[in-house]
């Protein structure tokens, strides 16, 4: 006999009517096994670890969970969802929906999150930079850039540069290298110049559904004005968002993260990899291209194609990779006794004896470089984006590496 859950807990409608991806299930399927709490890298610092969040919410105590700092401890690493034996949609479904509901009820998000939301709403980027300076990365570039906001033209690849690659000084080195690689591959590529705005993945994970929707609306209209065969991104978060959440709003595009995009052109890429890069490299699977999309081989194939590179694996790799610690929650997590995950991860990378930690997500360069300094590994291990290593082997990198 079907149980009338709604009679027991009026919030069950909220808990069960969330949009879930094909193959994923709602929270009613949770059997309280505790896999999520056991897998969560920050559960030890939470008042309500994931399993308890579900238990309390299902038992009519959702409000207590919404007011708890635990709600803002999740950095979206997706390990709970990935390992859940009942395939419950947690990191991309329940946690964002709970945060959205908390904010609708007047709960204030942590300061860093609030600032990022406000920056994205007002300026279209989380860094709070002028939208007019979005193309600053290309100022010292030695290959031509087709800025489609100035000159509309059909392109093979519409490259969405995204916030960090466009603005962050450390990431701009990678951005310029990618521009040179695309050019060297003979691809007709273009960017949206100062018209580009955030895609909204972090906004969605952090529960700002209204902000995410406004970004989707803006981007759908913007992309509709241009002709392209494919969208390519350096940022795996934005990639994942366009692949998984944009179609919900009727915004469906052929989209690829740069790792798969380049791996699909391996013959052409290999032909350009002429200079050896003598290094032992370990690769950090980011949470979007990794666990969320289970795309583990293309980044490794690219690294192994570089002459001189010896690839070694960390203890936690592929689906079990430790998260870098994500964005915007460092102060909140530290205030509640949680570890800095990037510190843990850089130690693990150094344990492999690798001289280079390779990444494929723009958030990770500065995170891991900071952690290397904090834990005393600066000089012992370098953090490089795969793009930088490819560019070095293609002789397309910048002379001064930071």
């Amino acid at each position: 006999m079907a149980v009338d859950h709604a009679r027991v807990n009026p919030e069950l409608e909220f808990l069960t009517q969330l949009d879930v991806a094909p193959g994923r299930k709602t929270v009613l399927n949770c059997m309280q096994c505790g896999m999520c709490s056991g897998s969560c890298p920050l559960a030890n610092a939470m008042e309500y670890p994931p399993r308890q969040m579900i238990l309390h919410a299902r038992s009519g105590y959702l409000d207590d969970v919404l007011k708890s700092p635990s709600l803002w401890m999740c950095i979206g690493c997706y390990t709970c969802s990935y390992r859940c034996p009942r395939a419950v949609e947690l990191a991309d479904g329940l946690w964002p929906a709970m945060r959205d509901k908390a904010m609708q009820n007047g709960v204030q998000p942590p300061t860093e999150v609030r600032d990022a939301f406000q920056n994205v709403f007002k300026y279209g980027n989380a860094l709070g930079q002028s939208p007019r300076k979005r193309m600053g990365w290309a100022e010292q570039l030695d290959v031509p850039v087709r800025d489609l906001s100035k000159e509309r033209a059909p392109v093979e690849v519409l490259w969405l540069v995204c916030d960090y690659p466009a603005y962050h000084p450390r990431n701009r080195v990678v951005t310029r290298a990618f521009a040179r690689i695309l050019t060297a591959l003979g691809i007709r590529w273009g960017v949206l110049g100062n018209k580009e705005r955030a895609i909204g993945d972090c906004e969605q994970i952090f529960g700002e559904e209204g902000l995410f929707e406004s970004l989707v609306e803006y981007n759908r209209e913007l992309f509709g004005k241009h002709q392209f065969e494919k969208i390519v991104l350096l940022d795996p978060h934005s990639y994942r968002s366009m692949e998984r959440f944009y179609p919900r709003f009727g915004a469906k595009y052929p989209v690829e993260h740069y790792t798969t995009f380049l791996a699909h052109r391996m013959d052409q890429v290999k032909a350009l990899l002429t200079r050896p890069v003598e290094a032992t490299v370990t690769y950090h699977d980011n949470c979007c291209v990794g666990r969320r999309c289970e795309c583990y081989d293309p980044p490794r194939a690219l690294l192994e194609a570089i002459p001189g590179v010896k690839l070694v694996e960390m203890a936690h790799n592929r689906g079990d990779a430790l998260c870098c610690g994500g964005m915007w929650l460092d102060a909140h997590i530290a205030a509640h006794g949680g570890d800095r995950l990037s510190d843990r991860r850089i130690r693990e990378a150094a344990d492999t004896q690798a001289g280079v930690l390779a990444v494929s997500c723009p958030f990770e360069l500065s995170r891991f470089e900071d952690s290397a300094k904090v834990v005393g590994l600066e000089g012992r291990i370098k953090v490089r984006d795969i793009v930088e290593l490819l560019a070095e082997s293609m002789d397309l990198g910048e002379k001064e590496t930071p």
Partner: protein, 258 residues
């Protein structure tokens, strides 16, 4: 309790501040605007009073300048009951004395018990707005306030006024009064974008004309310029790396770094 809040638009410092060709004003052509920070805090204080001290109505009064509509809708989403804008079609904001006359005319018609105005604005060149509005309205004024607690009957407000050296005076002010707000009991709240979008559909911006305030400025600007380099200052030039290296060498030279 009827609370009125003045919210001004100021140039957003996300864009460089350029001096207009006249040499007497900031070039606002293509400038980005935002709500003045202290006014945002005044609004937060007003909403907190509304939430904590019983039935109150908060009215936001603003000039039609800059990006004011979005600021007003955000205020409505935060809990303002009325949002009023005063038509204004000049390229430059009015001088404080003229602005004070315009705000005062609208606030007088509201019969407010408590008027909150940010104690500073980063584009104010001449004088502060808050005392000038108080003067126009003939209201008692306390500036540099960082907390307001109205009495249960709404006849007085206990205010916390900050003095240099972090000294704080606690004083009782008879209402109606005008307070210059430095900070609120809480930081300005975040409202989800869905609420702002919904306010854009449901909240109504009232327009209230005011009589032409033919007031001239107390002072006229002769010349606006960037700060001149003083004799003891050294401005470091070059790329980020060059400047960083220079800073390190100066710190070493002065014995701060070994």
């Amino acid at each position: 309790m009827k609370i009125a809040v003045v919210v001004r638009q100021v140039p957003d410092l996300i864009e460089p501040v350029e001096i207009a060709d006249s040499g007497k004003a900031v070039d606002l052509e293509g400038a980005a605007f935002r709500a003045n920070e202290a006014d945002d805090l005044a609004l937060e204080q007003a909403i907190l009073i509304k939430e904590k001290f019983g039935p109150s109505a908060v009215t936001v009064v603003a000039l039609d300048f800059g990006d004011i509509d979005n600021t007003l809708y955000a205020a409505a989403a935060k809990g303002a009951d009325r949002i009023i804008k005063i038509p204004y079609d000049q390229a430059q904001p009015p001088a404080p004395k003229q602005a004070a006359a315009m705000y005062a005319e609208v606030i007088r018609s509201l019969g407010a018990d408590l008027v909150l105005v940010g104690t500073y604005a980063h584009d104010e060149l001449e004088s502060t707005l808050a005392p000038l509005v108080a003067l126009k309205l003939d209201l008692p004024f306390v500036g540099v306030v960082r907390g307001v607690r109205p009495s249960a009957d709404g006849s007085i407000a206990t205010v916390f006024k900050e003095f240099p050296g972090a000294a704080v005076a606690k004083m009782n002010v008879k209402l109606p009064a005008l307070l210059g707000i430095l900070s609120a009991d809480e930081p300005p709240r975040y409202v989800p974008v869905s609420r702002i979008r919904s306010a854009m559909k449901t909240a109504k911006i009232e327009e209230q004309e005011v009589g032409a305030a033919a007031l001239t400025s107390v002072a006229t600007i002769q010349r606006l310029h960037h700060p001149a380099v003083g004799q003891r200052a050294e401005i470091l030039q070059g790329s980020v790396d060059q400047v960083a290296a220079k800073i390190v060498s100066i710190l070493r030279e002065k014995g701060v770094l070994k």
